[in-house]
Symmetry: none
DNA sequence: GCCTAGGTCCCGTCT
DNA sequence: AGACGGGGCCTAGGC
């Protein structure tokens, strides 16, 4: 068995000093059951993240119940009590417990037992290990922000379904329309009968987006020999891009990708309800 | 950096022998980027399971897109190419890729980059590591069977084996029967010879379940040109759903998933006993 | 490839 | 608390 301990600092490493108070990472290779029990108790009380790899079997009882026969798996226990039992294949854990469950660890008949209990609904996952290949516990530092964006395609579909997202009276004619050097996202006419080209961007539009729109507008203007309006639809536009947009006589319309995907979902829902109640 | 290698046998351990052909577990603590690239390439080509713990940021592009700013996380890559990025809290991975994606690993500007690409839909998850706390790769041996009880399938089988769970005189004719778009869970006739459609839910049935049943009843009524009864079988039904159910002239029957699985177990037991004692 | 439906779905939100 | 709907849902099964 070897053990390596890293300190708080990003690069300083403490070797074989389990008592160092700053230790953030503890790795035990091939620990015996007693040591594993100690390490896990320590980890659970300190709300450390735990990874156990070893030979285990698992019982689950709750809304349903299940039995997993022995085999080698990866078990993760997180700071908030979430538990995941992963096999060597597949996206999903074979057994699990969502966050907020209470953890117990003990030795029973020479096996390591980890019990994760949750209430409402009452559910119990019990993991039995007869061999632990390795066990590690961590204090992970993670303040990184996570941002999720809906797709540009959602925005396009939402605009086609609800053209007033661009402006009142806008009527789409076509989309993904081929113009010489590419595809126009949406193409239509405004309330005064003028041709409109819409360029959609899922994120803050920069000068590149403006130039792309300008290119399409210019191409169409020439090929049709008539006035063409250009509208940039995006959640935001950068200062420089707005400047450029105005100087080229183009318009900006704020469109939020998330709202677009919600709008689409609502439309779909209504379609189904209408089908049932007015068939 | 230390490294420990276990052999095929359950207890025999090979220390610091990276060339041993039987190695099943490789653990690298605090590896540098080049070593990590080598280990990962080796692991991916040998379809080993990988766990990486370190400081990383993640980009996702596909149906939607997302950005995860730097922080310490656990990344798991499985034999079949499934990828999971886990933060220190929560049941769900913050980023992921389902099984079947193609993996690339390389060094770029002193960072370790793991790229997981999937097609249909085309999706890319890119993970950048600037520090790796530890990296381990495994050949997990896992042939253990998994059994789940009290699923909707158990309820279906129980109803087919014991149709009085629905009502006295009910006779099932078919199950998983295809109707225009979808499948009827159980299909049969009641004591008065009327066609019955049964929709099974393993938990409290909501309005959606009622609408699902209504859809099947309506479709069959039209295609058969005769009366069709609809029965929703579930442990509970929500107030609103019950209201809707009644207004549509459908019935509810309380059926408990656990009792279904017990019934099946008892039937199975009896079958085995009968086989041995009255062959 | 599409569509349909289930899941120990999980999770946020609202009543 | 329950109820409802969304999800990069994932996954399995049919066509």
């Amino acid at each position: 068995m070897s053990e390596d301990i890293y300190g708080e600092g990003p690069l300083k490493i403490y070797w074989r000093n389990p008592l160092h108070s700053d230790r953030r990472i503890v790795v035990c290779e091939n620990p015996d059951i007693d040591e594993a029990v100690n390490r896990l108790n320590e980890a659970f009380s300190e709300k450390r993240v735990v990874i156990v790899v070893g030979s285990c079997w698992v019982d689950y009882r709750g809304r349903a119940s299940s039995k997993l026969e022995p085999g080698e798996r990866i078990v993760i226990v997180k700071e908030d009590g979430a538990v995941l039992v992963h096999r060597s294949k597949g996206y999903e854990p074979i057994n699990w417990q969502p966050s907020g469950c209470i953890l117990q660890v003990f030795k029973e008949e020479d096996n390591l037992v980890i019990k994760a209990v949750k209430r409402t609904p009452h559910e119990v996952v019990t993991m039995f290990f007869d061999r632990i290949h390795f066990l590690s516990t961590f204090k992970l530092v993670d303040e990184g922000e996570f941002s999720l964006y809906a797709s540009e395609e959602d925005m396009q579909r939402a605009i086609l379904a609800e053209p007033s997202l661009i402006e009142d009276g806008f009527k789409p004619i076509d989309y993904e329309r081929k113009v010489k050097p590419g595809f126009v996202d949406v193409y239509g006419i405004d309330r005064d009968g003028r041709i409109v080209v819409v360029e959609i961007k899922r994120r803050t539009a920069g000068k590149e987006a403006v130039l792309q729109l300008a290119k399409y507008v210019e191409t169409l203007r020439r090929s049709l020999g008539r006035e063409v309006r250009g509208i940039l639809a995006a959640p935001e536009i950068s200062r420089d891009a707005r400047q450029l947009l105005l100087s080229l006589g183009l318009d900006f319309r704020r469109v939020d990708p998330k709202k677009c995907s919600e709008l689409l979902r609502r439309k779909e829902e209504r379609r189904i309800v209408d089908f049932f109640y007015h068939p």
